[in-house]
Symmetry: C2
Subunit: 381 residues, 2 copies
Amino acid sequence: MKFIHTADWHLGKLVHGIYMTEQQREVLLQFVNLVEEEKPDAVVIAGDLYDRSVPPTEAVELLDEILYKINVELKTPVVAISGNHDSAERLSFGTSWYRQSRLFIKGKLTNDFTPVHIEGVNFHLIPYAEPGIVRQLLQDDSVHSHHDAMKALIGEVEKHMDSSEPHVFVGHAFVLGGKTSDSERTLSVGGSGCVGSELFDPFHYTALGHLHSPDAIKHDKVKYSGSLLKYSFSEARQRKAVSIVEIDSNGSISVEERSLTPKQDMREIEGHLEELLDPGFFQAQKTDDFLKVILRDQGALIDPINKLRQVYPNVLHLERKMEQQDLRMREDYTTARDEKKSELELFEQFYNDMTTSDFTEEKRQIMVSVIEKAKREDGKK
Amino acid sequence: MKFIHTADWHLGKLVHGIYMTEQQREVLLQFVNLVEEEKPDAVVIAGDLYDRSVPPTEAVELLDEILYKINVELKTPVVAISGNHDSAERLSFGTSWYRQSRLFIKGKLTNDFTPVHIEGVNFHLIPYAEPGIVRQLLQDDSVHSHHDAMKALIGEVEKHMDSSEPHVFVGHAFVLGGKTSDSERTLSVGGSGCVGSELFDPFHYTALGHLHSPDAIKHDKVKYSGSLLKYSFSEARQRKAVSIVEIDSNGSISVEERSLTPKQDMREIEGHLEELLDPGFFQAQKTDDFLKVILRDQGALIDPINKLRQVYPNVLHLERKMEQQDLRMREDYTTARDEKKSELELFEQFYNDMTTSDFTEEKRQIMVSVIEKAKREDGKK
């Protein structure tokens, strides 16, 4: 039995003010092609189908389109759960009908722990839930942390497990050993958001969502597939893939990854403005990628973002990188203020910090007259 | 062939700050019972399933529950369209799956005018759409008004009509001859929102939604079912019902109405505060109904709303009714201002307008000292 594990589609995601819907559609169509080629027995989506509880209508239409292609056109069963970004209730709408064509969406956590059977494999669908919800649902006052909640839920799941069959757990959680990136909503305070990976020992494979990198955890059978796309610059160096999992009747597994490649990558470039605008540099690159630009220039720059966008239309973020020397100069400047330097001395310091030109005698004279004029005006008040 | 025509459920509706979800659920369960008894071949919902494009999750869960009972448990086909209150895109999600169990929801208007066939009858589902949308969809620049839009749409529908079969049109529009109430969103400016009922001549029955009264139009085969509940006090005297329509293979129809009766009615009561608070009056009434109270008292009243709510917990709106004499006194008061009466004269007039007591000499002396004190304080500034 073969299934594809994916997660964290985040449809409707805004990255630095840009809707990623078009990019998501492009990669999801690649994913549909992969399903067509691989002919898996199921597709598993481990939560965060949408980026928010009320996604934009374009995202709703995209999810409908993609699920239709996979489930109805390619007749591939789909199991999906809601993540912390989804609205459990809204994602639950219509699930009774979807089930008839083997589209199994578990939006809201309920007391029904019956697994979904596909080709001899049991899929245990546990949507994301806050510990308070789990405490109430299971009437178990000992549940305080996410770890407690998962432990209690898995206790319920185990009651429905036939040990002679293979079992796959589908969950959305921050499993210990994972690394976080900016685009994963911070859930853990003082470690209470973490779930120990040992809880998943009863399962032959655990298909996780929540962390966006397939390398977030090193474990032979508890795995994140990673997100559909890079959703923040902290993910710029992450691989983005889906996992093709083969599981035999004894529960032995083999996992193979397949990359997803959007037309536009999300990456960082770094250098002096002049270098980055040099055709010798940019002609070798995909200039329409989504970029974070780190400028090494130390002095003042006039409108660098617009200059950059002439060449790189999708600069989403610009940063300046201060060199060690520069940081020292900043300190000097701060110290200078403390020593009550004259206005002219302060300006000279500032000018030297911010530009690469000399503060000539001519410039000095101009500043002297400006400062005097400003002081006279101030005196009149 | 028999179907039940309903419309304007407005799930998630807030009436004077109160969510009607519980009342809606109660009446919808009555409706489900009616479906169970009548065993119709279809249920038709002519738009405004929800009250807004993003309904509260309770409303989403309620719609899911009710459609499940009707369509899956009672195995009754359902045809539904979106109204002006629904989000066409959000209501379209999942419709490809629903169709498999004969739940036909037409959320977004598309170029597909194929009717839904149920037991030999053709149902033509035309969701609510603004004229601009229709103009673009049909690439017909002559479409400006709702009437133009409906005419053009029906032109398309007629291309898919076999004249030997019975045809039912399902639409959501303000069809001429209808009366509006407060809770129907005003759409028409200068009559451009109205649609002439003659457009529906090609159909054996037209199941409309939008206007909330089953009496909104007097026509033998173009009909509003009316809304599920009374949704504003302007509907207090309306009947609320669903229509049971029988249609034979020649297209002959018979229509019978069935009332829906919520535990709590929405109605008006009118009288003097003292009368309304008299056990002899209120003991004969359902005091927990949703009420608009019209007070006939002419004088000042202390906290009438809270006094009323001791007896009638669900007073949603309170109005004072001015008698003819009172209106005249108001005019006198206005005139008085123009004539620059003294502060004391103005106050006396005001006191007489607002209370039923005499403005005694003692009261006059108090006001004289108050006015003098106020003037002294004003002079000090």
